[in-house]
């Protein structure tokens, strides 16, 4: 009884907040609704017993990705009116993309109903025995059967990260802002200051 209630609570909240993401007028509000949607998705995952994935969803998407979204959206000065001005111009393209997505969804669900493909479904003989927690189960799966796919994914992410840094990093031309902490710490009053006793009416030569 409680489970059904909680499921509908999360599901309704999630769909409602997903709708609010695209209808909210203020982009910052949109991102906040998106965060609520992520959060409810995590709740749904806890409900089906995938607590590890749920926590990762919150840590990665809510805790890091959405913060950066919010960061960027808050910094940008977005003019909502200017963005809505191109609505009629982009309408056919938008409809086309929506239709493609819909077709893919229908195809996907149709193929799933047929149930012939075994994408990632373990063979009955190969499936590891279900261990007590799903953290251990995911680990046993990821590091045995899918270890190469997992490592390739890791390398792709590493390359993407290095690429992003190389593309955006510009070595500063001026010396400003570059400091050697060790040099600052080693500096002592003897070499940094000198005592002068100028005569009256004369300046100091430095």
């Amino acid at each position: 009884m409680i489970q059904t209630f909680v499921f509908y609570l999360f599901a309704v909240l999630m769909i409602a907040s997903a709708v609010m993401v695209i209808t909210a007028r203020n982009p910052v509000h949109s991102v906040l609704w998106l965060i609520l949607a992520f959060f409810n998705a995590a709740g749904l995952m806890v409900l089906v017993g995938a607590e590890f994935i749920a926590m990762l969803l919150v840590i990665v998407y809510v805790g890091a990705v959405a913060v950066l979204f919010l960061f960027v959206v808050m910094m940008l000065d977005i003019d909502v009116a200017a963005m809505r001005a191109g609505f009629m111009k982009n309408f056919p393209l938008g409809i086309a993309i929506a239709l493609i997505l819909l077709a893919e969804l229908v195809l996907g669900i149709g193929a799933y109903r047929v149930g012939a493909i075994e994408l990632g479904t373990p063979m009955a003989s190969e499936a590891p025995a279900m261990v007590e927690s799903n953290t251990a189960a995911i680990g046993a799966m990821l590091y045995s059967k899918y270890v190469f796919l997992f490592e390739i994914a890791g390398i792709i992410l590493l390359v993407a990260m290095i690429g992003a840094i190389v593309l955006t990093h510009r070595p500063s031309k001026s010396k400003r802002g570059q400091q050697d902490i060790g040099k600052q710490v080693r500096r002592n009053p003897d070499e940094a200051t000198q005592m002068k006793q100028p005569e009256v009416g004369k300046g100091v030569e430095l």
């Binding site: 409680i2 607590e51 926590m55 919010l70």
Partner: protein, 351 residues
């Protein structure tokens, strides 16, 4: 507790709901009291270090000072700036406070005394603590004012940076314990050091991790020397500048609840939680929660000590420490510790 309510003649679901509610109250109410008293302790410690007297007027030894302050903010008028984004402005302190309380659900106070004994307890804490940045960002943005906004930007960058290294440090602990469950992590520390010391901190590989965890906790809770989000010389009062009355108090309570949580995590992850410091039978007669609270109190004293003695970091130094010092070192230690555990056959046969 569910069984107790079931014995009163309730169905299982109702008994579960009532027991959970009772558990939440049993944690949240003493926590609020603890926050009020810990603010008093904080002020007393600073005062003692600065050779002042500290709060000493309200009640005996000034013990009731925090309650007087609470009453004062409660009776004040709530002011919402006319330029503020009203909904988010009101939501921000609520988010901060709720998130600060939510993390306490998985904290084990004694063997088996925990509201939600889930297998991913440590990940839950990490998830919740990554949420706490939202209260700050929302407050800074919704205030529609320069200084709170600067503060919110600083806070979010700071918290994300230090969460990365905290994550790696926690991975080191998890590698040793072999579980994300906080109760099991505490039990794994039993007799860890030479068979008699309870706690991971006396492990030579984990001791540097604890030092880094403590410093990262200071940064994560925005305490001195990393309190750049409310650097009063630059930002008036940071993200809470525009807040008054109860909404201000909620930020304050949430902040101190987070600090207490971090102190307790130090105790649970590295100092053996509810276990006595030595694995010696007579010490087990003292209830576990007393050991846990003593350890937490010790860490809180260290937090106040740092606050009273250390000057504030510059923002670029803070970022350098997080990304260029802590992140590489913690990554190195993840590799070192997993290599050591594999080599010594901690996980079955050595590869």
């Amino acid at each position: 507790m569910t069984e107790f309510f079931q014995s009163l003649g309730m169905s299982y679901e109702w008994a579960w709901a009532v027991a959970t509610l009772a558990g939440i109250l049993l944690i949240a109410l003493p926590l609020m009291l603890a926050v009020a008293m810990i603010i008093y302790v904080d002020r007393k410690v600073w005062a003692a270090i600065n050779l002042r007297r500290g709060p000493n007027v309200v009640g005996p030894f000034g013990l009731l000072q925090s309650f007087a302050d609470g009453l004062k903010v409660f009776l004040q008028e709530t002011i919402i700036p006319s330029a503020a984004n009203k909904g988010i402005f009101i939501l921000a302190p609520i988010v901060t406070f709720t998130v600060a309380l939510a993390a306490w659900a998985v904290i084990p106070f004694d063997a088996g005394v925990v509201l939600a004994d889930i297998n991913v307890g440590l990940l839950y804490i990490l998830a919740i603590s990554s949420l706490s940045v939202y209260g700050v960002i929302m407050a800074g943005w919704a205030s529609n004012s320069k200084y709170p906004f600067f503060s919110a930007m600083r806070a979010s960058a700071q918290m994300i940076s230090y969460e990365v290294s905290i994550g790696f440090i926690l991975v080191c602990v998890v590698l040793y314990a072999g579980t994300f469950n906080l109760s099991d992590i505490v039990m794994a520390q039993k007799g860890h050091g030479l068979g008699i010391v309870n706690g991971y901190v006396f492990n030579l590989l984990l001791f540097p991790m604890w030092v880094m965890f403590f410093i990262s906790c200071l940064a994560e809770t925005q305490r001195v020397p990393f309190d750049l989000t409310e650097a009063e010389s630059e930002l008036v009062a940071g993200y809470q500048t525009e807040y008054s009355s109860m909404s201000f108090a909620l930020f304050w309570l949430g902040e101190y609840a987070n600090i207490l949580l971090m102190c307790m995590l130090n105790a649970i992850l590295f100092f053996g939680g509810w276990l006595p410091p030595l694995d010696w039978a007579p010490l087990y007669y003292v209830p576990g929660i007393i050991w846990l609270l003593l350890k937490t109190f010790f860490f809180f004293f260290m937090f106040s000590w740092v606050m009273a003695t250390v000057p504030r970091y510059r923002y670029d130094q803070l970022m350098r420490l997080g990304w260029k010092v802590f992140l590489p070192i913690s990554l190195l230690f993840v590799v070192l510790i997993s290599g050591y555990l594999m080599a010594t056959g901690h996980y079955g046969a050595a590869a």
